[in-house]
Structures are given as structure tokens and as C-alpha cells.
């Protein structure tokens, strides 16, 4: 039998999808800045020109120092939300996560049969999704160390100086690109149902059929996407129009 199950809260979906273009803009404007002194990896000028990244340092800095605020605010609100809503419990790794992440990796490389546990986030995801937030914090801090290396000189010192902070800031950017590639590959692998849940909040799940249609207890009201729908299942079920009405008599699924 199929069932809709709430997966991602509305707030987290907004934070996620707002972060995506903001981070993209930060990386792109950062590249406009990086062009002026491509210290860690240089590319032929023809490539820079083809990508229209050349001679745009001032523009890159202006954009970077504009969107940094939006990027930071969105990130801070996300972290605050996960703390106050309790969502952090699903996201933050625990002492089993690292072993589990290893098993997930082996499974994904087809070296291990057992699938990862069907929890919302497995160990590998917990480590990735918490790690990328820490990377974000690292970008803010190393960015500030580059932006104001005298007024925040103690920060710059933490990075072994100005060029150290620049290196960390750059390495983290490479990290985001790697995160993005793996993340998108995994989302494609996981399929449409999983991706759709990040847009609509709900995932379609199969639950085992009950052998005997048991009469339902009195409908319990539960929060859903709409304001005032009632639902019969213990997990909140969305979509008032479809949910109510047909609920009292039970189980005629094919």
C-alpha cells in the first residue's frame, strides 16, 4: 500500500533552494576575483575569456560583498531553525555515523550488499550535510580574515596569515564544487521520488498491507500542509481535499 510521508519541513526546503543560487553566485563572483591572481591553479587566458571571467575584478568584489550578506543570513537562519525545530537530530552525526558512512560508501561502490538503513539521513548524509555547514562557517570566517586582515587580525593569524586564509577560502570553494557533483549524482541515483520530496516535502512510501482491514480508531487531527485537514494515519498526511471524506470507511486498496 502506498502512503505519503512528510520528509522535509517547508523551512528547510526554502533554505536549501535559496542557498543554491546564492552559493552559486558567491562561487562565480569569487572566480571573477580569483582571475586577478590565480595562484593555486591557473588556466589559459583563452579559457578565462571563453567563460567571460577575465577583467571583472571590481564587479566580482562588489557582487561578492553584496551577496555575502544574503548567503550568511540564509545560513544562520538555517542553522537556527535546525536547532530550534529539533531537525538537528536527523542531521548531526552520532557515534554510529562514521561506521555507517563507511558501509554506505562500500554499498555505493557495489562492494557491499546490505543497503543503508532506511532512515531519513544515513551516516554518510549526516556527515556530508553537517560537514558542508561547517564548511560554510569556514568560508565566512576565512572570508572575514581576508576582508579585514588588520581589524580581525587575530582571525587572520588563525589561518597562518593572509595568504593562509586565502588558501583555506579557495580550498573550501573547491570543496563545494565537489560536494555539488557528488550530491547531484546521488540525487539522480536516488530517483524522482526523493528529489520531489525536496520540493513538495512529501515522499511516497510503500507500507506493508495489513492482512485484515481493522477498523480505524477515531481520526486524530494532525498538522499537514493545509490549515485544517484531518488525517487518519499517525504520520501527518497532506492534501485536505483528498484526505477527508473518504477516510472513515477503510482499506479498499487494490
Amino acid at each position: 500500500m502506498k502512503k505519503l510521508e512528510k520528509k522535509h519541513p517547508l523551512a528547510i526546503r526554502w533554505f536549501h533552494w535559496i542557498n543554491f543560487p546564492l552559493l552559486a553566485l558567491m562561487i562565480w563572483s569569487g572566480t571573477l576575483i580569483y582571475w586577478a591572481y590565480p595562484r593555486y591553479a591557473n588556466l589559459p587566458q583563452t579559457w578565462w575569456r571563453a567563460m567571460k571571467i577575465n577583467n571583472r575584478l571590481a564587479e566580482g568584489m562588489a557582487l561578492h560583498f553584496f551577496f555575502m550578506w544574503l548567503f550568511m543570513i540564509n545560513g544562520v537562519l538555517y542553522v537556527a531553525y535546525t536547532i530550534f525545530s529539533g531537525e538537528w537530530r536527523d542531521l548531526v552525526p552520532n557515534r554510529n555515523s562514521f561506521r555507517e558512512a563507511w558501509h554506505v560508501l562500500l554499498h555505493d561502490l557495489h562492494l557491499r550488499k546490505e543497503a543503508p538503513p532506511p532512515r531519513k539521513f544515513n551516516g554518510a548524509q549526516q556527515i556530508s550535510y553537517t560537514g558542508v555547514i561547517l564548511m560554510g562557517l569556514g568560508s565566512l570566517v576565512s572570508g572575514l580574515a581576508i576582508y579585514k586582515p588588520v581589524q580581525f587580525g587575530w582571525l587572520t593569524k588563525l589561518f597562518f596569515g593572509y595568504q593562509g586564509a586565502r588558501f583555506v577560502h579557495f580550498a573550501l570553494t573547491v570543496g563545494y564544487v565537489m560536494f555539488f557533483v557528488i550530491h547531484v549524482a546521488q540525487v539522480i541515483r536516488a530517483g524522482w521520488n526523493n528529489f520531489r520530496a525536496m520540493v513538495i516535502g512529501y515522499e511516497l512510501v510503500m507500507v506493508p498491507d495489513l492482512p485484515v482491514p481493522a477498523p480505524e480508531p477515531a481520526p486524530a487531527s494532525a498538522p499537514g500542509v493545509g490549515a485544517k485537514e484531518r488525517s487518519e494515519t499517525s504520520s501527518p498526511t497532506p492534501g485536505a481535499e483528498a484526505g477527508t471524506g473518504s477516510g472513515d470507511e477503510v482499506n479498499d486498496e487494490q
Partner: protein, 244 residues
Amino acid sequence: MMNSDDVDRQLKNLTRRGFITMAAAAGAGYASWKFLRTRPHESGIEWPLRNALQTNEKLAEAYFSRQRLSPSFRPSDLTRARINGRLGLQAPVDLDAWRLNIEGASSAVALTLDDIRALPRHEQITELRCIEGWSIIVKWTGARLADLIAKYPPRERPQFVALETPDRGYYVGLDLDSALHPQTLLAYELNDAPLELLHGAPLRLAIPVKYGIKNIKRIGTIRYTNIRPADFWAERGYDWYAGH
């Protein structure tokens, strides 16, 4: 329990609602981006970006303290002194006839290099950070701009200090706090040798609380002013404050 058709219908509704919302949000985001990028330019960048730079400047100025110093280095840390800017240096210069004009002082002032050398001498090994991203560690010797300002005080307390090359081919503006910072030097020596022409002889600014672009070479005029001074690179899209 809902039956399978109900679940399908519900899912269809949710999916439609979710993706329409997402498309609308993406459209709004794209429209905002287009709006931003089509605003009239103010000194080389869209005015909202210029406003953001000026807001950042206010925050930075509020937090700025003259007590916080740019790190000092050892002589063994010195790197090659790179020549990166020739703006304002094209015209020939007669070092003997050169004078430093101070405008906005109580009386007209035209100083010789010896007048500058007569001010207390300071040495510092600091990092010069270019706005392009590279940095070098160099030793500067010179007089504090703060000492010059104290000796040749302004008629009225200025908000800014403007500096220009003799041909006005290059010019920078400083907020007063940065101008009075103890590491802001009028330098006449680089790495223990008199300044070479392309390093800004006879007198240049060494200001580690700013990007390299503010370290103007071959200073001809210093002006105390309450009008935000023109700044060569700020007119070309860069941050006027450019402060560290």
C-alpha cells in the same frame, strides 16, 4: 486509511503546488537578478552594489580601531618588492624641485623632502596586500602621516584626507581614522634604500590598513577636506574605502 487513488491524487496536487511555487520563486529570483544588473551605474557598478559597499564601509569604520596594527614581520621575511602601478608616474619629475603641497592647512604649505625627514622617523616591516590578491612583505621607512597632520594642522577638523600625484594622474582618498593610523607612513625609503622612481620617489604612502591601491606613489598634494575625495579606482568600480 486512504486508498491508492486518493494518495495518487493527493500527490499530484502536492506536486503541482510544489513545483509551481518553485517555478514562481525561481522566476522572482531571476527577475531580482535582472533588476539588479540593469540598475544605472554609480562609479562603475550598479548603484545597489555601490550602496552595499558604502554600507559595508560604515560598518567597517564603526569597528575600526587605530590600536589594531597590521602584523609586523622579521627582516628575513622580506619578499621582492613588486612594481605594479605606473599611474601618475609618466611625467618626468625633478626631485630637487619637488614639493609636497598641503591644502586645507592653517597656512599654505610647500614642504621639501628634508622637511619630511625632519619629522620623527619610523620603520616597519609590513605586508602590502594588493586588491588583486597577491601580497608582499616590505620594509618602509618614513614619517607618520599623523605627525605631519599634527605639525601642519588643518584649518578645521577634516573628515577625509586626499592625496594626489603632481600631475593628478593618480589620486586616492582616505578616511581620517585610516590617515591617522600609526602605521600610515609617508615613506621615503623602501627596504633600507631611497625610493626608486617606479616605487614612488621621492615620497609615497605606505598604508597597511588599506589595499595596495591606496598606497599612492609620488605624492604631490595632500588635502584636508570634508568632501569625500575622488579616488582613481573607486571611480572604476572598486570600493572607495578599500580598508583592512
